[in-house]
């Protein structure tokens, strides 16, 4: 059985005296009937695809609409020229989130994590750590199990679909998953991982899904950056011992309720928010005329 609450997940780790990633892996093996070796192989494959997406990024690539492409290269360039704030890690996180999300918009191969629209968040926070040697493949795969575990609970208690819950269910969920993964990777206790996830999702509560022209481009690509940077800050807070007043399960439940309260215009229909601005509407019309 996959976990229906973060509380159950933490209890499973605590009672068996195993790490959170181990508890999540074991629970999935019992349900999926995969062998541990097969499951770990599948996880390694996902991580390899995440790396390949970033490696194969082409600054010249553009989406069919022309709305996406080239931004990650600009961020990297500016950082190299000493024009960016926040140091190497933040610059890399920003660039990687853009890279993967741009690749998605340009019909390249990505890992939906948890969705295609939010595919940039997890790789963004992990790739720079792998590149700098701060994390090896095994610890990253463990962190990905932790991310998936929190994602499963979000799917069970709320939703991971923008059409149901708005962008909080996609980038918000990805951000919570990434925050927990980072916290685990840096040696945080299970409770700290849950606090990191709670903060990350809580910070993005209410985020609407308002794709211009209905495409996974504007504002999706840049929202991946927000999800990633938010994850880093929340992991940092949790690792420092900062607490969140609302337990993670309750934050997830709140996200689900907020999602159902959102007008359908703000749930992936491209009818509200930025999609409904004069410029958003103009872009949609211009693309429709191109046919």
């Amino acid at each position: 059985m996959s976990f229906l609450s973060c509380e159950e997940m933490l209890t499973a780790a605590r009672s068996q005296n195993i790490s959170l990633s181990e508890a999540i892996l074991r629970s999935d093996l019992a349900e999926s009937r995969l062998t541990e070796a097969h499951s770990r192989e599948m996880m390694r494959h996902l991580w390899q695809v995440m790396q390949a997406t970033s490696r194969d990024y082409d600054p010249a690539q553009r989406s069919r609409s022309g709305l996406s492409g080239g931004d990650a290269a600009k961020v990297e360039q500016a950082h190299q020229e000493g024009k960016s704030l926040g140091g190497d890690y933040l610059a890399a996180v920003t660039a990687e989130a853009l890279k993967t999300a741009e690749c998605n918009a340009c019909m390249k191969r990505i890992v939906a994590a948890p969705t295609a629209g939010s595919c940039g968040v997890l790789p963004a926070v992990l790739l720079p750590l792998a590149r700098s040697g701060e994390a090896d493949e095994e610890s990253i795969c463990d962190a990905l199990y932790v991310a998936a575990g929190f994602g499963q609970v979000i799917a069970a208690r709320a939703t991971l679909a923008g059409a149901e819950g708005g962008c909080q269910a996609e980038v918000g969920a990805a951000s919570a998953m990434a925050a927990a993964a980072l916290c685990h990777l840096k040696g945080g206790a299970p409770e700290q991982c849950a606090a990191a996830a709670a903060m990350a999702l809580g910070n993005l509560l209410g985020l609407v899904c308002d794709p211009v022209a209905g495409l996974v481009e504007v504002p999706c690509v840049k929202r991946n950056v927000v999800g990633a940077v938010n994850a880093v800050s929340c992991a940092n807070m949790a690792l420092a011992g900062v607490d969140y007043a609302i337990p993670c399960d309750e934050v997830i439940d709140a996200m689900g309720r907020v999602g159902s309260l959102l007008s359908p215009d703000l749930r992936e229909t491209g009818q509200g928010g930025l999609a409904a601005t004069p410029t958003g509407v103009r872009i949609a019309q211009a693309l429709a005329e191109q046919g």
Binding site: I24, S39, C106, M107, A113, P114, A116, L215, V216
Partner: protein
Amino acid sequence: MRLFDVLGPVMIGPSSSHTAGAARIGYTAQKLLGDVPAEADIGLYGSFATTGRGHGTDRALVAGLLGLRPDDPRLPDSFALAEEAGMKFTIHPVELRAAHPNTAVLTLKSKAGRTLVLKAASVGGGRIRVTEIDGVPADFGGDSNTLIIHNEDTPGCIAEVTMSLAQRRINIASMQVFRAAAGGYAVMVLECDSHIPHVLEQQMAVMPGIRKVTCLNIDEPEECEEG
């Protein structure tokens, strides 16, 4: 949701429902037809019709029909690949009643003259449901080994089919029976736990009352890698 549904699938962007799901629909249809179609008429309904082009739904469906999986990097180039493979296709919007908003209707014809009409919906996260096959309602996901049998609606047909599966020790995971009209034309959909051998398919095809046997083996090796 399974762990590898939360993380994954590996897919060509930009949308799990509009791109990966569309590719899965095309791929499943190609498997069911048993060959790359020589002619394909592709009808798009709902959100597939309105935002499909920007999401590459059209390219994904054609890629799937060529036997490309949803994570095949050649997916965006499927129109050119179709031309090379000699597959003619048309894509247009269709009006349907009470259909899922991401629905495609594929009317296919193989070189050997085999035909298939498939209605399928992309239901999220890259997963699909086939909702109609050759005009008869159906409901299966294409993620298990699936046997689809068109038969006359006469007593004994179902027994014959399940008996021959039992003889080969193939376990049935789920079974559905649909019919167009009593005493007319019926469809059985059997999702099985193990591979369905080709020889069994041929055996069933000549049984009395059986009109057509279609088989979807998910564990079959790739057949159309050359694109």
